[in-house]
């Protein structure tokens, strides 16, 4: 049995690993500690434990940052994009994985090229067309863009999932005369739920955090999601570090909790390639 006994003494290894962990997590711990300090205390004590815990920062940030509206906006964008993307990507993945299509390789190549194009190149014409169509400052306008951008990645992920499904169920259904649609809807989709979950998490995370398209296509204060409104909030309360830290924590804490609960799926999906978070 070849165990990994390459370390003479594991202590130096663990010391480096702990240093790296401090580098990764330390700044976030400081952010959370600062979110419960007063700005005066941050001036005296920028990176230490809080002397007194002030939860008022959260109430103020919620109010001033208009979180009741922006969280709703982010939720609409996130869920709209997840539902839209998974629907169309699920259908496409099924066709590429299960139906013998001529030209499936060409489609895969097309997706590869499509995801390598710099967003800024197609964003300019897209913006002016969207403006003509009255889609700027509408959630549906941005959801359509997100679905267009994230569906090739999701198709790729779901396709590799569907390829690995056992053949027997499908064969049995075919003998019973089931149509492709019925096979997709009642056999492939239920069996692929882990793939859908992984793709949904990755797409959802990307939409929640997305900045460039949100700042361009939703400039209005009533429509904008958390990411861009937090950016404006930070500019407005630049020196009020306690308040802006609380504003950041409101945005990031739900994501970290969700990540910790489903970390295996997040890491699997995000490292599947081709999409930058």
């Amino acid at each position: 049995m070849l165990a990994r006994q390459r370390t003479a003494s594991p202590i130096p290894s663990y010391m480096i690993l702990i240093l790296l962990a401090v580098f990764a997590i330390g700044p976030l711990v400081i952010l959370i500690m600062n979110s419960v300090k007063s700005t005066a205390e941050i001036g005296r004590n920028p990176i230490g434990f809080p002397e007194t815990v002030i939860l008022q920062n959260f109430a103020d940030a919620w109010q001033e940052g208009n979180y009741a509206t922006t969280i709703r906006n982010s939720a609409v964008l996130t869920f709209g994009t997840i539902v839209g993307t998974l629907t169309i990507a699920g259908l496409a993945a099924y066709a590429l994985a299960r139906l013998k299509l001529k030209g499936a390789n060409l489609i895969a190549f097309y997706f590869l090229v499509g995801t390598s194009v710099p967003a800024q190149l197609f964003m300019i014409p897209l913006f002016f067309v969207w403006r003509e169509l009255g889609l700027v400052n509408t959630h549906i306008g941005l959801i359509l863009i997100y679905c267009g951008i994230y569906s090739p990645f999701s198709t790729y992920l779901l396709r590799s999932y569907m390829i690995s499904l056992p053949e027997e169920f499908v064969e049995a259904a075919k003998i019973d005369g089931a149509s492709n649609w019925v096979i997709f809807r009642h056999i492939i989709m239920p069996l692929s739920w882990p793939g859908f979950l992984t793709a949904g998490l990755v797409v959802g995370l990307n939409v929640w955090n997305e900045f460039l398209f949100a700042v361009t296509f939703l400039p209005g204060t009533d429509q904008r999601p958390i990411a861009t409104s937090l950016f404006a909030f930070q500019a407005r309360f630049g020196r009020d570090w306690g308040l802006t830290s609380a504003g950041s924590v409101i945005m990031v804490l739900p994501i970290i909790v969700l990540f910790l609960m489903l970390q295996r799926r997040f890491m699997e999906g995000l490292t599947a390639g081709g999409l930058k978070a």
Binding site: L2, R4, R6, T7, P10, Y14, I16, L17, L20, A21, F23, A24, I25, P27, L28, I30, G43, P46, A89, L91, A92, A95, L101, I107, V117, P118, Q120, L121, I124, P125, L126, F128, G148, S151, P152, N180, F184, L205, N209, F211, L212, T216, A227, L230, Q234, S245, S248, M251, V252, I255, I256, F259, L260, Q263, F266, M267, L270, T271, K276, A277
Partner: protein, 304 residues
């Protein structure tokens, strides 16, 4: 329809097959149509308007290579291009080095691998707007690490690192690297866990040190993954935007300007969409060259 099928069964077979093929393609249509509308057609239009005087609001007219001539004389553009190259070089060294080191050490330990891996990955799920805010405070001359060090008598970080021309680009790249390196650890670790353990055994029997094992067993074994991440970094570095836009907006005095921020400024603040598209074309060319290089190496028989 039923009775026709009974009456003339043979001619029905062919249309039915064609219908089935159409039906199969119908599953693909929504993705293809949406991708055409959102990505492909605007990209082609983007390439085309680089040859026009389009402001975004007028009817564009063809002006030949005028935008390209202007680009070749634009010092800010070349500064931005140079900054993209520096950015790429930084991302190809610092995060890859930490990523490889972290993953290699993780691959040798027995307990806690999962916990460290999860901790390293957390910054990657943090939104750019949050990481930017976090480091804006931590690197602030009066309320950050620099101020804290200055209180202890160490005064080298208590200056506005984002607001100084010599440091702005590096400071922003550092923040983005903080967000990114854990992603590489996870990718490299999963590649390393597929390496045949017997190779290490043989190397050890030959008296290889830990570094030699890394150099001559680990690195060659994970080469496809390593090359893939290098390609990704080169592609992503051409369009890096968020952190620069948030932390410095390209300043001070364009010292941290990159192509994407300069393009954005031209397209949406200066009403110069045609010129912005020209910059977009250079960014696309960068990506195309990177992919072509990758394909070329593969054709030359590199297992990547």
């Amino acid at each position: 329809m039923d009775y026709t099928m009974e009456a003339v069964p043979t001619p029905q077979i062919k249309p039915k097959r064609q219908y089935a093929a159409l039906g199969r393609w119908a599953f693909l249509l929504p993705v293809l149509i949406l991708n055409l509308i959102v990505v492909v057609i605007p990209s082609i239009v983007g390439l085309a308007v680089a040859f026009t005087d389009w402001t975004g609001y007028n009817v564009p007219s063809f002006i030949g290579l005028e935008n390209f001539q202007r680009l070749l004389q634009d010092d800010i553009f070349f500064l931005a291009l140079r900054n993209n190259l520096i950015w790429t070089a930084m991302f190809l060294t610092f995060p890859i080095a930490i990523g490889l080191m972290g993953a290699y050490i993780l691959s040798t330990i027995k307990t806690g691998q999962m916990i460290f891996r999860v901790m390293y990955f957390i910054p990657y799920v943090v939104a750019s707007v949050v990481s930017a805010q976090l480091w804006r405070q931590l690197l602030h001359p009066r309320v950050g690490i620099g101020a804290w060090l200055a209180n202890q008598g160490i005064t080298f970080l208590d200056f506005p690192i984002f607001g100084t021309r010599e440091t702005s680009l590096f400071a922003v790249a550092f923040v983005d690297s903080w967000h990114f390196w854990g992603f590489l650890v996870v990718i490299y670790l999963s590649a390393m866990s597929a390496v045949d353990l017997e190779l290490y055994e043989v190397a050890r029997l030959d008296g290889a040190t830990r570094f030699q094992q890394f150099r001559f067993v680990t690195l060659p074994s994970i080469r496809p993954t390593l090359v893939f991440t290098i390609l990704m970094i080169i592609i992503w570095s051409s369009s890096t935007f968020d952190y620069i836009y948030m932390l410095t907006s390209g300043g001070p005095a364009n010292s941290s300007e990159v192509m994407s921020t300069y393009l954005y400024d031209n397209a949406f603040n200066r009403f110069d969409a045609g010129y912005a598209a020209t910059i977009g074309m250079v960014m696309s060319l960068w990506v195309a060259l990177a992919v072509a290089g990758f394909v070329y190496l593969r054709k030359r028989g590199w297992e990547i």
